[in-house]
Amino acid sequence: MDSSLIVQYGPALLRGFGVTILCWAAGCAIGLVLGFALMLLRQLPIRPLQALIRAYIEIIRGTPFLIQLFLLYSGGPSIGLRLEATTAGILGLGLYGSAYFAEIFRAGYQSVPKGQVEAALSLGMSYGAILRRVIVPGMLVSTLPAIVNMMAILTKETVVLSIITVPELMYEMQTMAAETFATFETILGMALFYWLLVEVVSRLGRRLEARVTRFLSHSSNARA
């Protein structure tokens, strides 16, 4: 392994790593917000809207992310949507994630016992208050592992963004490999970076889980 490579390409790789994290974080944020909104809209008793959202979710989940990204970036201009590579990458990642997050949230919404909502209704609480104070906290408990899992998956999906020339880690690594033929170092370095990122995400996730489920711990053997 040639250490001069690190000096030469280090800054570019670090920049790439930064771009990867930026795309991932922004993509997750868009995915989570949009996914939650889709889940809520789907609760409305409007059949065409429900069908539309279901179709969106099925299409996103049924096609490769790579193709979605191509469509958005290369096909976008033909309908007047001209996006810069990084913007397209972030948006694509967000749209991709939103379909999965919407499904996770839907399962979470349904997992909140109906009785807890009825108790809130019977006390005269508004739907907004019930959503904020009863449903979302309940959902968080049941869905957090799945949310963290999806976020970890999305860290790895960011490599696809290199295809549309987003200067993220994969892109910088490929540049380095092409210029130096140091293929082994490149692949090893990449694996290390992504593993590090996934590890950090899942650790944070575990911490968060412990936090939101603390009221369930020490449930003792109190019986009904």
């Binding site: 108790a119 019977s122 006390l123 005269g124 208050a129 309940g138």
Partner: protein, 273 residues
């Protein structure tokens, strides 16, 4: 103690003629299955009315219609003269959510499964609606919640999450959550059915205290002892109809209605050993 008495005290002047709950000709169907048929029932202020009957007789459904958690199809339900769930006049329309909320503020409900919010402490459960519905500030709501927990004998458990409480304690917290809102009327949907036998007594005691303080209560129950000793009126439901109605004495001892006799006999057999 004081808050409950205040809530339960009927207004000094006027209004005494208007019943707390008036149910007239109420019917409901799930598809072709008629679960409630032509129900008439009046509950006056400070009365305790128990709904008894075999499972599937419609008593829980009727109770849930009173605060419109369940939609009834025919007839009228009025609370303090105000129509529940529908606008006055014909053709009638469903009330807006806002109107329903206003109505529900005065009607507390206690559920078989307690339905506490597991992510909030006992105190948090009781304080929540005070903040969200009554608009109290957090400190005042917490202080009031503490009083209410004290009222049901659980001041020491204020900071415990529901998962750490026994079923009887959870149900008492659920009752505290309701009485904190100073309801004019309380609905109980089999409040002791999910409890181990040794925990039933503590919940019934709290309910007895409420009744003694003059709270108007409609109670769906299988506790015949409670119905016999605490209720002013007992309604026996069977196949969606009120098959017998009267004082506990009239229903339990003097009713000639064969279905009532059979139900009570089954009950006695099950509870003797």
């Amino acid at each position: 103690m004081t808050a409950v008495s205040e809530a339960a005290a009927p207004p000094a002047a006027a209004g005494d003629a208007v019943p707390m709950v008036s149910i007239r000709g109420v019917g409901k169907s799930f598809g072709t299955n008629e679960v409630l048929r032509d129900i008439d029932l009046t509950v006056n202020k400070s009365e305790v009315v128990c709904l008894i009957g075999p499972s599937g007789s419609g008593k829980s459904t009727l109770l849930r219609c009173v605060n419109f958690l369940e939609v009834y199809d025919r007839g009228d339900i009025r609370i303090e003269g105000k129509l529940v769930g529908y606008t006055e006049g014909t053709p009638r329309r469903r009330q807006s959510n806002r109107e329903l909320r206003t109505l529900r503020r005065n009607v507390g409900m206690v559920f078989q499964q307690f339905n506490l919010w597991p992510h909030m402490t006992a105190l948090g459960n009781v304080a929540e609606a005070l903040v969200q519905v009554r608009g109290m500030d957090k400190a005042a709501a917490a202080a009031r919640a503490r009083q209410m927990l004290d009222r049901v004998g659980l001041a020491a458990k204020a900071d415990a999450y529901p998962a750490r409480l026994s079923g009887g304690q959870q149900q008492r917290v659920a009752i505290a959550r309701v009485i904190a809102m100073e309801p004019h009327l309380m609905l109980f949907d089999e409040p002791t059915s999910a409890l181990d036998p040794e925990l039933v007594g503590e919940v019934l005691q709290v309910m007895r205290d409420l009744a003694a303080d003059g709270m108007t209560m409609v109670v769906v129950t299988h506790e015949m002892g409670f119905a016999a000793n605490v209720a002013d009126k007992v309604a026996f439901l069977d196949h969606g109809r009120i098959a017998a109605f009267g004082t506990p004495r009239e229903v339990f001892h003097e009713s000639a209605e064969p279905r009532v006799r059979q139900f009570l006999q089954t009950y006695h057999e099950r509870n003797s050993f």
